[in-house]
Symmetry: C3
Subunit: 142 residues, 3 copies
Amino acid sequence: MRIKPLFFSGGAMNTTLTVKTTSKTEFIEITGDVQKAIQSDGIDDGVCLLFVPHTTAGITINESADPSVKSDILMVLNKMVPWKEAYRHLEGNSPAHIKSSIVGSSELIAVEGGRLKLGTWQGVFFCEFDGPRTRKVHIRLL
Amino acid sequence: MRIKPLFFSGGAMNTTLTVKTTSKTEFIEITGDVQKAIQSDGIDDGVCLLFVPHTTAGITINESADPSVKSDILMVLNKMVPWKEAYRHLEGNSPAHIKSSIVGSSELIAVEGGRLKLGTWQGVFFCEFDGPRTRKVHIRLL
Amino acid sequence: MRIKPLFFSGGAMNTTLTVKTTSKTEFIEITGDVQKAIQSDGIDDGVCLLFVPHTTAGITINESADPSVKSDILMVLNKMVPWKEAYRHLEGNSPAHIKSSIVGSSELIAVEGGRLKLGTWQGVFFCEFDGPRTRKVHIRLL
């Protein structure tokens, strides 16, 4: 994963992560990359907005200790939203758009002492619903 | 759609959009109205909170290019949450409350150079789940 | 419920609520506690981030007037996410993790004149999906 600083205005961090996904649907943990971006920016305290500028992907916070959790979440989302349905959108990726609206496009996390203030078991996951693709996550400090 | 400025405190934008919905369930794109509110306020840079003060509606970010996407999302949400169920809430609009909690009541979007920093295909949609009604979306700049 | 102030940096409120849940799955309204925390901090105007540092719980905004609404939302979430499935996570609480990602881990609410700027029918609910447990909600003013 590559971290590309975009610009810095008024001291506010403004960075974009690049995430390469390898499957049709996949959760990729980006906690470490977000943490690195914050540290390289010298941010000590604030609130961090993570924003996915895509309509067939999302972002979520969930357990990072056991990788089975992310595959269980994905399995149920993939069952909840039918692959075959009377979809009108002709690109064939309506299920991905729907999962994006269920999971959401952004997360907001406090930063304290230079670290993301997450719970013990929490990690941040980029949610690919129509991969494989090269994706972006905007990071902005408020 | 009507834009009604409420008050301005410490330079922070604080505005409310009025959205008139015409169907029981419906997604209405409000990207242009939010953009207009930001511009009329002269906001150049910041982060914009969009907040829906209703419990049977929501707000989401998804594809704005093809209107079929919003109807596909709505179709699946309407199938996922049963219209008939052993609901205890007597007003008959429990499905709308449930969809509201699934989709969420707010979105947070960066503003750069006076424009919402959305991805190429992204638009902002007001989600009516118990219309038709006259609804509000609060816009606040952080 | 107990309110424990953590620390105050640069005037920004930074507090944690403790929520004791008593059931496996349960919505507990915390609007009053959040309001109290804001008032005891003398916050007049701003935006308030509510963040749940757990991966088997969530937070949502929905109707507070009729308690049937929260039980209807919970009933449908509990049906949408199967209790028995080919889950790989061995702790047996995958359904809770999945509901957490559907409902979300945070809410962002404006504060005006010392009060949460919620709609007439809106309340804030802590969502327990794997209780009973003692839980936390971080409150931070932006």
